[in-house]
Amino acid sequence: MARHSVCKVHDVAVGALTEVKVGRSPIVLSRLPSGEIRAVGGRCPHQGAALRHGCVSGTTGADRPNELTYGCEGEILRCPWHGFEFSLRDGLPTTPDSEGLALRLRLYEVEVEGDEVVVVT
């Protein structure tokens, strides 16, 4: 287990993505609306797009066709290339049963020490 001080707390904002490097590996950080900081692998698990170019958003739901709801603002990361959606809460895709495709974000443990963000790898 290695601990890496990667940036300052104020560098990580809700609705935004901050990329840091641990060794040569990119990691992107975002703050959930709850205040928690998330750190995820910086490459998309689909085809490897750099997630720092992605967008943090909410997502849609619907019980019936053409009646969209919207929620989870700040908790969804969409890949800049094909737009697959992942939850920043648990790293899982928003689509069900993605059997056969190892589609989930790699989550890293994050600790805050003073005004430093520490990522554990």
Partner: protein
Amino acid sequence: MRVLDADVHESFGSIKDLAPYLPEPYRGWIASGAWRGFSQPFAYTSPGLGNRADVRSKDGSASVSDYGQMRDQLLDPYDLGHAVLTGYFYPTGLKLQYGLATALAAAYNDYVAEHWLAKDKRFIGSVQINARDPDAAAREIDRMAAHPQVRQVLLPVVDDIAYGHPQYRPIFEAANRNRLMVAFHHTTFAQGPYGMGLHYMERHALLPLAMMPQIISLICNGVFDAYPNLRFMVLEGGFSWLPHVMWRLDREYRQGRIEVPWIKKLPSQHCRERLRLSTQPTEDITGDQWMKLIDLMGTDDVLVFSTDYPHFDFDDPNAAIPRSLPETTREKILWRNGAEFYDLGDAPKSERPLEAAAE
């Protein structure tokens, strides 16, 4: 091995046979020849003029109106456990005069009940409707669902209807409340993306391209999700395209779910669970290729045997599904997948308690 044939085309001898089943004024119109029925907008090129050449209809059309002939050529010699009557007279082809079209569908249903279903317990019936008037179609479904041999609604694939459109919901509602399945069959009006082509061969090769959009439409517009008890059967529309359609839809869903979040399962999962494809016309592939295809589909639950009797591209129950397939898979294609789709158990439905929902 037991055989269920999912696609058998019964007919009348002449459209005037429907007159006694029609209310006025339509009875008079049809009896007097005010409309002489659909005629296909092309010439058949097969030796039997659209039929197998050993099946002659009285009027020379591509049809069979004689139950005895069907029994002697199909039901008995192949010892079919069940044959699903799917018709080929689809009033939805009328783009005007909806009242007439709806009345014709009802008349045809009554004609088939009397002249076909009543004659043989092996028959499974389809409800014919005028899909252009979905509320009237729903009433016809409610009416015919009480018939113990009727197990499905037949939706004709024409040139301008994608059935996922919200306006057709009453049809699926009615099928669902009556516990009927939904089958799709092409028509003489069906088209590929750029029309019918310039040759019969072209038109016939394009038919699968009229079916794929129906599945895409149903899934994208939430019909699979809205009615978890409904199952869907594509008749005579090819089957080797299914892996592509499943994979493509899954990819589209992963990248575009945000627009269609009412889809709650991967499209491929919807297809494997509740879409069935009839096998005729089989493509002439080897047993190994059948198994590769089934492997790509991810299940051997999907394929359901059909002959398409009396049409020229008939598949023989003894020859069309290679004997080199594993016995269990061959049995699923020839019997079990269809029997499960129609919820037959081991007995003809006519001998089982009526299941149509009463509400």
